[in-house]
Symmetry: C4
Subunit: 256 residues, 4 copies
């Protein structure tokens, strides 16, 4: 196995697909939204990405089966009124190291570019740290035309007092260097629980931008599942940090 | 020397051996169990793995001789009622970095696959952080058939609220991608002392799964030896962390 | 994309240009000074450097547009009484890892050496941690002749109780190994605000050394802009550190 | 420049030289001892090692001149009653990362092996953390014969409750894999000051082992110089750690 490997499960052809990314991040808002699209629109998994840059661990599922750290590519064909194709990237982890983050974002862009991707949306959360009455959606983009579109949809423009850390930011930035246009949509969230409302706010805006319909009735149910997954992921990450930073007796607690 | 190097001590042929891994981890439960198997069944060391990903240090043994950080491969032939061959991996350290963990697990799988390994068991501990009346054994596996077997042996199935960090998890996960089936057996342990009982609990289950006999009478004695080794290992790891994170005057205390 | 990539925007020829470096650092004194030179003398950007060693993030500008982490090369031709050419390196980030710092400094020197650079000045700040009446300029150099010149200009010589961490130090040190002569000029600054006076102190000395005129009237205005940019950069860096070191619930706050 | 580069200053031939290593470490005991040998016996520098694995910084000397992080190889010919040749390795830094430590130790061994090195002594300190009446010397070795020799010289054998972190340990361990025999001599030191007595204790033992004479009269004077150098080194290391771990406003204090 190379450092990073993409296993193709199904050979497909797509027509300039739109690329949607939502790897685990703040409040898992993006992941929740993307998992919902995959489920509602019945997307098909066609490739899996494994990497040495992921956390060195496995998850265990409800049945006791081990799950590798993985990013998964799904596709959708001829969706919505515009008959557009889509590639959706979800997964259970992001790269741990800065170099790994760049490396993986580069590999992911190399892969989706082969299908003719010219447009991308990355989905994430924006943590406020305090309760929110109604979740707003914030946006940033590679092009001023897209910014105008976001404004027309009452998406708040993420201003110069912040940035975007991790895959949602890097894919957009590195994509810009390859002339892939796109935006990052961030659902405002307190950040300390799995926020179905923030995900719904993103999905509502995304549906308009993409001119597709996404039923969000089952989103709450999905949020509950995600809550379980995340509780596990955080526990693992905690153990990982302990391992990296820990010492002496604490050491006894964290390697499986 | 390359980043990772495996020195062959004896050229051997094995018949689809079962692979058992038990590198240092929680409560050194797995290591204690595997060292005991090697001793009791008189396994033969046939290869040593050295790696730049190990902690940059040497141990010093009772005689004042330096010991490199190393993983060691032992073999056993025609064991138990099924006349099975075995490869057992033990050692005094695991890779420090996440990338190193993946790298080493990959190299180890490449190596054992050449001998025809199709089945593996990784041994570890599961820390409770509090005293235990009787050490239970927890399990996770790559296949639902193995899960069923574990359940029949009253092994608790590790459920979705956790995962497995380090070599015991990664070897199983990456092995699954190569169609090597297997399970991780984790002995419940308070985690803050070298737990011969947790190791015995694992050995009892493993003996049934593998259909071999393992006398555990001398396990307590071995636990005492391991205690000494671990005390040293922890001290080193502590020094390492200090070196990595330390500064200024503290600096004077930790580089040899 | 390779680990580090330099995109040429304009093919130029320069006559043994003097190389000036001022990447983000202490009090952003150097960056402020170099940005001011670029603005006042109307330097032209001719190359951009992108690297996997930068923080894995994007900034968002006033309009909501994403900005990649980048180092930028500008040139100036026939400046001052000596009709000298210049290459000026500025940017929004430095490499995160030690190896990345060396790697980038090496790539940068490879690049500027092709234009015939034999002389370099790296600009930075020296933090006192307390208020300063009048900002002094400290210097260190590759050659005793340059040290003499600095002394004649009332630049304090940085003595043996300190060193220079990061690009300003490494470029000078690695440059010395390639027979590029040079000095590092450090403006004394309290360190806890964007210090236009420290930048002005550096610019005054640099103007004399280089025999060019640099009007510093608009420096305060520029300091204000830099203040905004830095506030953003620090916030991102904070988020990055949290991500690297954080765990559990905190985790929810920082990945976009 | 490659990751690690050795610049040859003088082409020499040596006759199975004995290799002595003393890079900065605990109480700089080893470095002080080795610098003293170089000075007293008038050793000649013949090679310099530069590496991306060193801290990304430069030191500044008394004159304001920048000094790269470097390891330096010296040689001595036909010393003592046995007419032995020597290679002595000193320097101002060790690799920062674990992988870097292994990488550099490997490169160093590759280099000295070309001269026919079959025997090595690594010099270091052993910190007690409390005042010492008379500094003992502790030893560890690759061979039981050497252990016997050390015992005859009243060198305490470092027992199984410890190990040796960093270059002094790794060179010995990796050397052992290449059939280079050797020992590590560690001078007992409180650890919180530059300990000329610990260095003298090591030199006394080493002189007997090597059958050479080393006048230690000027050792105190040298200790004073080393004290200055170390104070600087520690300050830099502190700044480095701050840079790596720091955030936000603190950030302003540490990059040059």
């Amino acid at each position: 196995m190379k450092d990073t490997e993409i296993n193709i499960l199904e050979e497909i052809e797509l027509n300039n697909p739109i690329f949607i990314e939502a790897l685990p991040g703040i409040g898992h808002v993006g992941k929740l939204a993307a998992d919902h699209i995959i489920d509602e629109l019945d997307a098909t998994k066609f490739a899996e990405l494994y990497s040495y840059h992921f956390p060195p661990q496995v998850f265990v599922d409800e049945d006791g089966l081990v799950e590798n750290m993985v990013n998964e590519f799904y596709y959708l064909k001829s969706q919505g009124e515009d008959n557009k194709d889509y590639i959706i990237l979800v997964g259970n982890s992001q790269a741990l190291s800065p170099e790994g983050q760049y490396q993986l974002s580069g590999e992911i862009l190399d892969f989706v570019e082969k299908f003719g991707v010219k447009e991308m949306y990355t989905l994430g959360g924006l943590a406020t740290g305090h309760p929110i009455e109604e979740s707003r959606v914030f946006g940033a983009a590679t092009d001023i035309e897209i910014i105008e579109t976001l404004k027309e949809l009452n998406i708040e423009i993420r201003s110069a007092d912040g940035g975007i850390v991790g895959a949602s930011g890097l894919l957009l930035g590195l994509g810009k260097l390859r002339n892939i246009k796109g935006a990052c949509l961030m659902g405002e969230t307190p950040g300390y629980f799995i926020d179905a409302e923030a995900a719904e706010a993103i999905l509502d805006k995304l549906a308009i931008i993409l001119n597709i319909e996404i039923n969000t009735d089952k989103l709450d149910e999905r949020a509950e599942e995600t809550r379980k997954m995340i509780s596990k992921a955080q526990k693992m990450e905690q153990e990982m940090m302990n391992k990296t930073l820990g010492s002496g007796e604490d050491d006894l607690r964290y390697i499986g």
